[in-house]
Symmetry: C2
Subunit: 321 residues, 2 copies
């Protein structure tokens, strides 16, 4: 922790650098949580675009619940980067996905931002180690990877680069949690982080199927929206298979269905199911279940899936009049 670092709860102003869909989504989120947001984007018409984006998101944010004092009026679009980061207790960079652009911009942000203030990049794939090379104080640079739209999807993946100091990773994780995000703090850099790797594996298999004429994009979407996708906001893939194992849970599932990992069910080769991997999966699921019985987890899943289906059905009925 550095001398100039505010306590995560004491931050009142956030700088958003880059005002595209992701940067604008972050601005909307911070505004809804009651922060003053100072935004800068070198592109033409950034102020107009940003206002429209916040305006579009505001009804959704209102429905989810605004913090005291939250208002779109707390947004200031500045004409220079220096003005945007001036007085900010946290900086979120959301520039286009180009390594040279990110490198240059993060060095510029680092130079303009008060010492000790943490700077996060929204990059969806670059390693901070590769992005922080030109920064004078790289120890406060972290990845804070959101999902689109950042004002609705809670997940943020936080990870540092080789030259990032641990306090900055912890500070960013604390701060994101404080602003209502669901945070995964990663201990090492991994190309694509976690959620994108999972999503990308599914996406690549989908592209293979379309390329081979095995399924259409519509069939793929229906397969997810009306199939496993209905369970995933309630229980993730590990807990889903923990339940698929019945009372025996993940242990039963891996011991009995392990051989199906050898089936040609996707073009992705499975890892070897070692005793260690089996035990790690079982221990992880038991930790997640946190004492809840099989029956309790089934009930939670069923209630969740029913609630989702009823909520989406009501929306469709409202829309179709």
């Amino acid at each position: 922790m550095s001398a100039g670092t505010p306590h995560p709860r004491e931050v009142t102003t956030v700088a958003c650098v880059g005002a595209g869909v992701i940067g604008g989504g972050w601005a909307a989120h911070f505004l809804a949580r009651g922060y003053a947001v100072r935004a800068w984007d070198p592109g033409d018409g950034a102020a107009g675009r940003l206002s429209r984006l916040v305006e579009t998101a505001w009804p959704a944010l209102t429905e989810l619940g605004l913090a005291d004092g939250a208002s779109p009026d707390n947004l200031t679009v500045t004409s220079t980067l220096a003005e945007a980061v001036d007085g900010a207790g946290f900086v979120q960079e959301s520039a286009p996905e180009s390594l040279p652009v990110k490198r240059r911009l993060l060095a510029d942000i680092d130079a303009a931002t008060a010492p000790g203030v943490v700077i996060a990049s929204s990059t969806s794939g670059f390693a901070m180690t590769d992005m922080q090379v030109d920064a004078a104080t790289p120890e406060r640079l972290v990845v804070g990877h959101p999902f689109n739209p950042p004002y609705l999807i809670p997940l943020v993946e936080v990870v540092g680069g080789e030259r990032t100091e641990r306090w900055a990773v912890d500070w960013a994780s604390d701060f994101y949690r404080h602003v209502g995000k669901s945070v995964i703090t990663m201990n090492r850099e991994l190309p694509g982080f976690i959620a994108n790797r999972l999503q990308e594996a599914l996406w690549r298999e989908a592209l293979h199927m379309v390329a081979n004429g095995e399924a259409t994009p519509e069939q793929i979407d229906t397969a997810i929206t009306d199939g496993p996708g209905l369970r995933w906001p309630v229980q993730g893939p590990c807990l889903t298979f923990h339940l698929a194992g019945g009372e025996g849970g993940m242990a039963h599932m891996l011991d009995h269905f392990g051989p199906s990992l050898q089936e040609p069910w996707t073009r992705l080769e499975a890892p070897e199911l070692t005793q260690r991997l089996r035990d790690d999966m079982v221990a992880g699921c038991e930790s997640e279940a946190d004492g809840r019985t099989f029956a309790e987890l089934v009930t939670e899943r069923d209630r969740g899936v029913i609630a989702i289906q009823r909520a989406l059905r009501r929306l469709r009925e409202d829309r179709d009049g």
Copy 2:
């Protein structure tokens, strides 16, 4: 279509062969849709297990809406296979996943069931071509692959084997639609069908991450439940990326982010992004969007995600008192 085949809407009795989690789930679904269900399972205590399963599912089914005359009392557990299929207008087989077991059982069911009645297997991975080899009238045998629990998750994947006749695939698709399922009719056999392949690709990548110490099962589950999983019951992976392309949709997405398919973001190699694959993805997404603008799709996604989050939040509040 065969002389003894009923119209899908005229079926009043369904036979469920196999009374495990899937077979019992099917029985609960058909009962809730107002059918008489005749079930048979060679295992000990099948009747008791089946009654408990239906009893457990009934509150959920009641909440989703029962058909006229639906009652758990319309379940008959028989002591022989012949009694179960007697008078049934449709047979759903849900035996354990073993090819020899399925082959033998489907031949027995085929021999005992009235001519023209369609027989579907719940197999989650075997090809009907491999399962129908011992049946005397294989032309009426299809795969009708559900997702767990079959009474809650609408998806059913329907596909025939080499010796299945087209009318049987069409009949099963019609019948499942009539009983409230979301049906994907596949034109060719594909190991793992569609949804399982997608789910399996994600699952294998998850296992690789745990095996390499890159993520824990809990991080993987959080990555999905609080990240892309929140979008998937609303819009599938293709439509999700259609929106990620902004106003330019899937075309912009593939033309700009195509190179990211070369990134080592998963262990699954991507297919070559040919012009044909690009065009098929774009056409599929445009067909799915069905005239809805980018803004309309964004609004639908946001409303859906908000509805899901609010519904799940209410459930948690109710549970935690």
